[in-house]
Symmetry: C2
Subunit: 106 residues, 2 copies
C-alpha cells in the first residue's frame, strides 16, 4: 500500500526485478520488510508484482546515507546474496531524490 | 519490463495507485504508453500491478521539464481526468532525480 512519506526532499530506492525462483521468496520479502522498518531513516515502502513475475519495490528513506546504511546490514547482505544467486533473473536499482510529490485530490 | 535508461542523472516519475474500476483501463494504459513514447525526452517505462489492485508505474525522462510537458499533452490530460473520476481509488505521484543506478552483475 501507499507509503506516508513526509514533504520532499527524501530518498527513493527503485528496485525493479524479474523472479527466477520464488521458493522461499515470500518469507524473505516479509522478513526484509520488517527489518528495514527498524532502520534509522526508514520512511516507508511500496511494492507491486504482476502475475508475469515483473515487480517494482520502492523504499523511501530520509537520505541516501540511510539507504546505504540499510544496504550494509548483515542480514540484508545475506538476502542480497540469495537474491543474486537464486531469486532474481535480473534487476535494476535506481537511487533517486524525490523533489516533488502530490496525491489524488480529496 | 526493464527500461534501458542512460547514465544518471535523469528524471523518474513514480506513480503508485489503487484501482477502483478497470473497465476501459487496459486500453487507456496501452494508449498512454504508446503516446508517451512519442514525447521528447522519453527514456522508458516500468510497470507492475499486483492481483490485489495496487500498482506502481515508473516513467523515466531526460529532465523534469520533459515530464511536465508530457503531463500537459491534451490526450493525456483527458486520461488524467478519467483517472481521477473513474479508474483510481487513490494515487501518489513522486517526481525524482535519479542520482545513481546499477543492474544485477552479469
Amino acid at each position: 500500500m501507499f507509503a506516508n512519506t513526509p514533504s520532499p526532499p527524501y530518498t527513493a530506492v527503485i528496485f525493479s526485478s524479474t523472479i527466477a525462483d520464488d521458493e522461499g521468496y515470500p518469507e524473505m520479502s516479509v522478513r526484509m520488510a520488517e527489518l528495514s522498518q527498524q532502520q534509522d531513516g526508514y520512511l516507508g515502502i511500496e511494492s507491486a508484482r504482476s502475475a508475469e513475475g515483473f515487480g517494482i519495490t520502492v523504499s523511501y528513506w530520509r537520505s541516501h546515507q540511510d539507504a546505504v546504511n540499510w544496504k550494509k546490514v548483515g542480514e540484508h547482505l545475506l538476502a542480497q546474496k540469495r537474491g543474486k544467486t537464486k531469486f532474481y533473473n535480473d534487476y535494476r536499482v535506481r537511487v533517486a531524490t524525490v523533489d516533488r510529490d502530490y496525491a489524488k485530490p480529496a
